[in-house]
Amino acid sequence: MYFLHFIGSFRMEGWNVLSKRKEYSRRALIIRSVSFQQLDQNFLELIKTFPRYEWDLLTHEHGVKLAGKYQSVHRVISYSYTESFSIWRREKSLKGKYYDALIIPVANLTGAGFLNVFLFSLTIKAKKRYMCNLVSELHPVSFSTIAVKAMMSLLNNVVSGILTGALLPFLWLLFPRMLNHLEKRSGR
């Protein structure tokens, strides 16, 4: 009788473990590149779209406690740098990790201005990458999409650099006087 009970409970537990493994058979990582207010909204949609995923979340140091509120997040990873996400600043704790989906939330519709995060995402091994925009629309992002964005940005960098350089002499000339003029005088 005890033996049958043991077998029964083993089968039940074994089934639970298996079903849990099956439930979380895939892993996803969110790179927190937007406010928690927006992420609150995005995350609801993400869970619906990827129902059987185990979620990790990468955030800057100050966001770790705030990210801890998501009951659905398995692990909050603190980004080891204070600066923005960058392809040159890889997160060492993610070395060797593999994700089925990598989510890059952006604070607008098109992802403009988030190239650094797209490039950073290439430092993490993932089967698929998705941009999740302000209205929680998901768009797959391939290596070639990121490469094209990077090349366009490089071109814009050159033009912007030249134009900024052309303005610099005026800036150097005017700036000290301008700041002096703005200075708060005692007794004012």
Binding site: D40, E61, K69, Q71, S153, L182, R185
Partner: protein
């Protein structure tokens, strides 16, 4: 129990104001004063406040004067502590009590930044809020940099805020919190996020491609730099911002960033006499996400 003044600024958001004020009634703190500054609404908001919330002190502005409206509210507030909210945000029921306890324990804690969460995610965050003990450490801070705060939910010592001149009225909209953060740190006080002190905000999921956010964020970013940074850092950051303005204009095919750049210089008289460089460690360590200001358009 010290008096706390909640100050809300509103403009044409009748339903949201009604909901926020109804939620504020649920706050578990006895000594509370609620001040609503109406920036010239034409949708019946002030009339609704007067009739449905007689306990609220209403200040009516003749027209929309931007964040200067907040300053009117701060001037008349009697509380030892101010809680600043938007017209579509409200503090969680036990947040004010927790905030006051933290302030009373730490005299150099100048600002408590609430964890401002999306109202539409209320249930999950609320269950966390109830589960957390008010005695455990909840400060979401970094050892490596200083933080600013979000004006949709923040507590500030009244005396301190008066001392640093409240919000910079010349900014009109956006980046005003960042400017105040410079002056608060410079006055020797700290700003801390506390994860168990929560406010809810109706973060709009609709991108209206509005010109307001990119324009004011960028114009005011220049003024932030010119007002608060030592000269050597100010010139480097100005150069970086000009670069970003041109780059974002090309990338997003818009003139809005260049217009903001032009107006930063053209309207410079508005910050005349207001430059006061902060201490170097503050300029170096206060986290200002300059690149993010260029992501609000499309």
């Amino acid at each position: 129990m010290p008096l706390v003044s909640i100050v809300m600024l509103c403009w044409n958001r009748l339903a949201d104001v009604r909901e926020s004020l109804s939620r504020i009634r649920l706050i578990e703190y006895g000594e509370l004063e609620v001040i609503v500054v109406d920036n010239g609404s034409t949708d019946g908001t002030p009339e609704m406040v007067e009739t449905e919330f007689p306990e609220v002190r209403l200040l009516r502005m003749e027209k929309n004067i931007g964040i200067a409206g907040y300053n009117q509210g701060f001037e008349v507030a009697r509380g030892e502590y101010l809680v600043i909210i938007d017209d579509d945000s409200f503090p969680a029921p036990n947040s004010i009590d927790r905030m006051v306890k933290r302030f009373e324990r730490d005299p150099l804690l100048g600002v408590i930044a609430f964890d401002v969460r999306n109202f539409y995610h209320y249930d999950e965050v609320a269950s966390f809020e109830e589960a957390v003990s008010s005695t455990e450490s909840s400060a979401a801070i970094s050892d490596h940099y200083y933080m600013s705060f979000n004006g949709a939910g923040v507590g500030i010592r009244s005396d301190l805020f008066r001392q640093v001149g409240y919000y910079p009225e010349e900014f009109f909209l956006y980046n005003n919190e960042m400017d105040s953060a410079f002056r608060i740190w410079d006055a020797g006080y700290r700003i801390e996020f506390h994860s168990d002190i929560i406010a809810y905000h109706k973060h709009s999921p609709v991108n209206r491609a509005s010109w307001r956010a990119p324009y004011y964020y960028v114009r005011n970013a220049f003024w932030l730099v010119w007002k608060n940074y030592p000269a050597d850092m100010a010139i480097k950051l100005t150069r970086t911002l000009i670069f970003h303005c041109i780059h974002a204009s090309l990338e997003q095919r818009t003139w809005i960033y260049l217009k903001a750049l032009r107006d930063a210089f053209r309207q410079i008289y508005r910050i005349s006499g207001k430059r006061k460089p902060v201490q170097e460690h503050i300029a170096k360590n206060l986290r200002v996400p300059y690149d993010v200001f260029f992501t609000f358009y499309r």
